[in-house]
């Protein structure tokens, strides 16, 4: 009997990811910019994933869409929230994980899962840019750095500047002020990383932290934030090899289970 092939498409506000799986094995994973049109991005990501795996759309047994733009994927068989997908994906990557912290471009989430990757509880922050990738984007621009450079810059810091504002807009003013005072850039970056870690830790603690903790989402690629968060939580943080595709991975896994159940 042919093994089942499933696809997960995660249409985020900034990036769209696609993962193809066959019976517990990842065939391909793709990350592209969402751009201005969610539907086109979803189609393109799917196409690229298929070609990377040497497959065609008809080979795929089930597709699940997730993420902010999940309603814009007409070729998906169903859509599931990114909360459930991150939960499932994280558990598959590391079975001991019980708390998932996802910091994305526009929102952040804390998710508690059980031993099987089922979501037990969750909290989301999507009302405020502070504590999300957007916060770092704004600040990086102000400091004339690329997002990818923030981690390295942090490593050069001897200490962290104090950033007290809770709000992105006011924190930016603080950064401007610190620059004017001649505070070394690495210290400002470390201060910003601490700031975002504090917000995130607040969210995670409100949910209730249970070890092990995994971090997903684009911001997990910033070692400065990971370290600051780990310190703030007082817990080790597990990082997946590619933090950005965890949602799409989870969607593909859920598609597998769902499809398997339906065919029985």
């Amino acid at each position: 009997m042919r093994l089942m092939i499933t696809a997960g498409i995660d249409v985020g506000s900034l990036s769209t990811d696609a993962v193809l799986m066959r019976d517990g094995e990842t065939l391909s994973q793709i990350i592209i910019n969402t751009g201005a049109m969610a539907r086109a991005a979803a189609e393109r990501a799917f196409e690229l994933a298929l070609s990377a795996a040497g497959l065609q759309a008809s080979d795929v047994d089930a597709v699940i869409a997730t993420g902010y733009g999940r309603m814009s994927v007409p070729f998906a068989d169903s859509q599931v929230t990114e909360i459930s997908c991150h939960g499932r994906g994280s558990a598959w990557l590391s079975p001991k994980v019980r708390t998932v912290i996802d910091i994305g471009g526009q929102d952040s989430k804390a998710i508690r899962i059980d031993g099987k990757g089922n979501v037990v509880d969750f909290l989301m922050n999507d009302k405020c840019a502070a504590g999300t990738g957007r916060f770092l984007e704004v600040m990086a621009q102000r400091l004339e750095l690329e997002l990818a450079e923030l981690g390295r810059e942090d490593q050069q810091a001897a200490r962290a500047a104090q950033i007290s504002s809770m709000c992105t807009v006011f924190a930016e003013s603080e950064v401007v002020s610190l620059i004017a005072q001649g505070v070394p850039r690495p210290e400002i970056v470390r201060g910003l990383h601490r700031s975002i870690a504090e917000r995130t830790a607040g969210l995670a603690n409100r949910l209730g932290l249970a070890p092990e903790v995994m971090m997903t989402g684009g911001v997990a690629k910033n070692p400065g934030v990971v370290r600051a968060l780990s310190e703030k939580l007082g817990a080790k943080i597990i990082l997946p090899p590619e933090p950005q595709i965890v949602g799409a991975l989870g969607a593909a896994l859920i598609a597998q289970q769902k499809h398997a159940r339906q065919s029985v």
């Binding site: 599931v80 089922n118 009302k127 159940r261």
Partner: protein, 434 residues
């Protein structure tokens, strides 16, 4: 297809003419006609009856047939009915303004009048509507302090605006025979003041009759709640939420008692005719929910989403009959006990206990606390309620949102949270993947 809301939206399309339209008897004649024509479209005939009652009362208030008194949501409005007055709920009006799509502009007017966006949007909306002269002028404003800090404060301000007295009921937190007497004493004084201010004769017999009607309402709504206690649910809880109108403005009126009796009969018939397929009306019941507090009125997206995904509000906090029988011969003591017995003005453990009981009784799969921004009473305890109910084994979603103000909901975060919660429930029910 014509519907009541569409009709009202059309009638009120020009804000400058709201005053004229709302105070014209013709509006209500036409409205009555539209209601009759659309009678069959209501899921429950009791909703039609309530619509007729609501619009008749609105007409009475705006056309000026009887002295209008404003009543805050949990005020014992039996006092007003017992004096032959026309109680008007500006909070219900705010919900309706939002439903008709005029919420944003009305709230902006409230904000211009000096009200911060951090206060309850119901009240911001009322402040805006009042500043524009859209609400019927009150002869008095009635508020109680136990379940809402904002309402008495708002009414204090509007009392100054309208030059009408604020008659407020100060409810103690701790119960004791003295406390009950204190409240009963205030109720009697208030009733006398209300009569005086509105030029009515304080008639003990009429008050007793109002209390009798209120008691009939209580009995019938309790019957409704008992009938709802079955799987599958015989009514949509979302529809039942509409009956808060009767809870807020109707208690003490003959009509509310009759509508409640009619509702009970209707549900009885439904229950008798329910098949085994899990069908309630046109939907399949997949998840049973206990719903706390209210819901968004500015659009129907959330509730539609819940229902289309197979979610059913098996029971709501606001439908719960929490008070004991009223004695028409002791109206003030009875109403004092009624007001003081509300579970949300007691240690939060009491609200938790009541919800857990309802959750068990109605065999729900999960509990949703709709945290209306600006409601300190309900949302202040949400985190503790969630923890306690979760410890008892219930999945709980604290859903942050707003009943009137939809401006912050553009990104669909509320729907995502709701969907994620239903996914959790599905996992638990089916024991496997989505």
């Amino acid at each position: 297809m014509m519907d009541v809301e569409g009709f009202m939206r059309h009638m009120l399309c020009d804000r400058q003419r709201w005053d004229r339209v709302l105070s014209s008897p013709l509006t209500y004649t036409l409205l009555g006609g539209v209601l009759r024509l659309t009678r069959g479209n209501w899921p429950l005939d009791a909703m039609y009856q309530m619509g007729v009652f609501a619009f008749n009362e609105t007409g009475r208030a705006y056309v000026g047939k009887a002295p209008v008194v404003w009543s805050s949501a949990f005020f014992p409005v039996e006092l007003a009915w017992g004096l032959g007055l026309c109680p008007f709920s500006p909070e219900v009006a705010a919900a309706y303004i939002a439903t008709l799509g005029f919420g944003e502009e009305t709230m902006s007017m409230g904000e211009q009048a000096g009200y911060s966006r951090d206060i309850c949007s119901f009240h911001r909306c009322i402040a805006g509507a009042a500043s524009a002269g859209n609400l019927p002028r009150p002869a008095a404003l009635l508020a109680s302090t136990h379940l809402c800090d904002g309402a008495p404060l708002l009414f204090q301000n509007l009392a100054a605006l309208y030059g009408a007295p604020l008659l407020a009921l100060d409810i103690p937190y701790n119960s004791s025979p003295e406390a009950v007497r204190y409240v009963a004493g205030q109720l009697e004084q208030l009733w006398l003041s209300l009569a005086d201010v509105t030029g009515q004769r304080p008639d003990r017999d009429k008050l007793a009759e109002a209390v009798r009607c209120s008691e009939r309402f209580r009995v019938q709504m309790q019957r409704v709640n008992e009938l709802r206690c079955r799987v599958p649910s015989p009514v949509s809880g979302n529809d039942m939420l509409g009956f808060v109108y009767l809870f807020f403005v109707g208690q003490g009126s003959r009509e509310a008692a009759e509508i409640a009796a009619g509702l009970a009969k209707e549900i009885e018939r439904r229950v008798a005719g329910l098949g085994r397929s899990g069908q309630t009306g046109t939907q399949t019941e997949k998840y049973r929910l206990l719903w706390m507090h209210l819901k968004p009125y500015y659009n129907n997206e959330l509730m539609k989403f819940v229902e289309q995904d197979g979610g059913v509000l098996a029971m709501e906090e606001f439908s719960h009959v929490y008070w004991t029988p009223l004695d028409p011969e002791q109206p003030f003591l009875s109403l004092a006990r009624k007001t003081m017995s509300h579970f949300a003005f007691k240690p939060v453990t009491e609200r938790i206990r009541v919800m857990a009981e309802l959750a068990r009784k109605y065999r729900v799969d999960g509990i949703v606390h709709f945290s209306h921004h600006g409601c300190r009473t309900a949302s202040g305890g949400a985190l503790m309620i969630k923890e306690a109910l979760r410890d008892e084994g219930w999945p709980v979603l604290v859903l942050e949102g707003d009943c009137i103000d939809g401006r912050n909901e553009a990104c669909g975060g509320m729907l995502t949270r709701m969907q994620a919660f239903l996914e959790i429930l599905q996992e638990r029910k089916l024991g496997c993947a989505l």
